[in-house]
Amino acid sequence: MPRVPLSHIAHGRSGDKGSHANVAVIARTDAGFAWLRDNLTAEAVAAYFAPLGPSRMERYEAANVRALNFVLYDVLAGGASRSLRTDTQGKTLAVALLRMEIDWEESAPLPPPSVDRMAKA
């Protein structure tokens, strides 16, 4: 089965809630959303971000926009006010998660995400 980055089927955005962060992952198609629902579990995302030491992980659904929203507790090392990290607000967590390699065998190929277009330009 072909391995593709999660960004092939989804886009997203992340931000901070104090020392917690949220990462929204939004499918580009209905088939992509079905895959996210079945495979992008709270456990899978917690494992992916394990080096940041999340104390807890919540997964919410917003099917109206084909999205899953993850809340990663205590991953910002103190948050915007006192974290020593460069990314105190978790702004880069979404693009980090969208690099996750997944198995994807949808017959109809998706248009390439435009981040790839920029990379080739």
Binding site: S7, H11, G12, R13, G15, D16, K17, G18, S19, H20, N22, A24, I26, Y48, F49, A50, P51, L52, E58, Y60, E61, A62, A63, N64, V65, R66, A67, N69, V71, A77, G78, G79, A80, S81, R82, L84, R85, T86, D87, K91, T92, L93, A94, V95, A96, L98, R99, P113, S114, V115, R117, M118, A121
Partner: protein, 452 residues
């Protein structure tokens, strides 16, 4: 059918200074909102006010207002709603009034919304049984009472409506929930009552406010699909045009860069959201999972749905307290094995300090360019030609942090080859203000509205 056009020209203090003027000039707006306050901003403003009783608000707003004067003359109906008041909304409103008068707009009515500042009342609140426990840990605020620098309740849209009822052309608030800057004008124009009768409409307007509160973040900024064709250099700021049932279109001024599409809007819909079915504001608990998006025209998205999921009897309170000092400095390390050399350089720096008897409450070494922005999650691909070494420390002792800032320069001569970038001198030391979220009963807070 009546519609209200609300544009947001500022998403945070530090946002583009021309955006409010360009948006107001081209947006055909009824209301211009300007959002200046982040969690950390209030503590900085509190410290400024402690030094100077006339300070403590977002001074950018005064500059923006003076440059808006020609637009306000050309569009006499245009009203401004802003939380630029920060820790000192009265001083901000007085300066706003002066700037308007100097520009020949002395007839403009400026109103102030205050009552959000709980710092002078903290001990009375404790005494009355409001412990302001930490929202996550449950610890009582009395634990850190001595080092609190600011404590503000997030007020809602209701006092903004009161200000508009008083005929205000400019409403200056302190801490108000960001979305309420939009909900206020909508509720005023459509005559929505707070409480249960118009909850779904308040929720729909909350969706609008949430979408536009970060400025260009909904019009192409941060969009995953952004590329050169998106023309982010001339990105247009967002406009929500609401109707009485709460449905609205989201757009931007014609000819501007950026994009308004299902991706930009859905990304922003979930930005900084926890449970999308329960987005808490002082006005309503909004359910974002009932929102429907449709691309109505290029760069115009129609947003319907957005329903209420109840109402709270509490205000969120944001408390900031002194928590020591921190500093972060950078150098560039180039050459083969740059990432490893950078990490080793950081370790050398901290080891030298340790030999001098200095250890810190917390330290961090990052090799930026080698995946350390999300440490351990995104690995480096290949051997980057150079990386940025960033070292940061935090400690209760200012002197210890000062000493740290002097340890960067020696690496330029005693470190690895290809070490450069020591051009900005010693990094500054800054005081840390930690964040303490809490709730307080609405009955314990009295919003106040005055015309200056």
């Amino acid at each position: 059918m009546k519609r209200v056009r609300i544009g947001n020209g500022c998403g945070f203090w530090g946002d583009n200074l021309d955006a409010p003027v360009e948006l107001a000039a081209a947006g055909n707006l009824d209301y211009l909102t300007l959002e200046y306050l982040a969690e950390l901003t209030m503590s900085i403003l509190a410290v400024q006010k402690a030094k100077d009783p006339a300070a403590g608000f977002a001074t950018d707003f005064i500059d923006v207002l003076s440059r808006l004067a020609p637009v306000l003359k050309a569009q006499p109906q245009l009203k401004i709603v802003t939380n630029a008041g920060g820790m000192n909304p009265h001083a901000c409103a007085r300066q706003a009034k002066q700037v308007l008068a100097a520009a020949g707009l002395a007839d403009k009515r400026v109103a102030v919304v205050s009552g959000d500042d709980l710092l002078p009342r903290l001990d009375a609140l404790f005494g009355a049984g409001h412990p302001l426990n930490h929202l996550d840990s449950g610890a009582p605020l009395t634990q850190i009472r001595d080092v609190v620098v600011s404590a503000n309740a997030y007020l809602g849209a209701r006092p903004i409506v009161e200000a508009l009822k008083l005929g205000a052309d400019v409403v200056v608030t302190g801490r108000v929930a960001d979305a309420s800057l939009t909900v206020g004008p909508a509720a005023f124009e459509f005559g929505w009552e707070f409480g249960t009768s118009a909850l779904d409409r308040l929720a729909a307007a909350t969706v609008a406010g949430h979408l536009i509160e970060c400025g260009a973040q909904v019009t192409g900024g941060l969009w995953i699909g952004a590329d050169d064709a998106t023309r982010l250099g001339s990105v247009g700021y967002p406009i929500a045009e609401l109707s009485a049932d709460g449905a609205f279109t989201l757009s931007k001024p014609a000819g501007t860069g950026g994009a308004v599409n299902l991706e930009t809007v859905s990304e922003q819909l979930l930005y900084e959201v926890a449970d999308p079915a329960r987005y808490f504001t002082p006005d309503v608990v909004a359910d974002f999972t009932t929102v429907a998006l449709a691309q109505q025209a290029p760069d115009v998205v129609r947003v319907t749905g957005g329903t209420a999921n109840g109402l709270t009897d509490t205000y969120k309170v944001s408390v900031a307290y002194r928590d020591g000092f921190m500093s972060a400095g950078t150098l560039v390390i180039a050459g083969p094995g740059a990432a490893a050399k950078a990490r080793r350089s950081g370790a050398i720096l901290l080891e030298k300090l340790k030999r001098s008897g200095l250890t810190y409450a917390e330290t961090r070494v990052e090799a930026l360019g080698a995946g350390d922005c999300v440490p351990g999650v995104v690995g480096a691909t290949g051997d980057p030609p150079e990386v940025v070494l960033r070292v940061a420390v935090r400690d209760p002792r200012r002197a210890a942090v000062e000493r740290f800032t002097k340890e960067f320069a020696p690496l330029v001569t005693s470190g690895f080859p290809g070490t450069t970038g020591y051009t900005t001198g010693r990094p500054p030391v800054r005081e840390v203000f930690a964040y303490w979220p809490a709730l307080v009963a609405k009955s314990a807070v009295t919003p106040s509205v005055e015309v200056v």
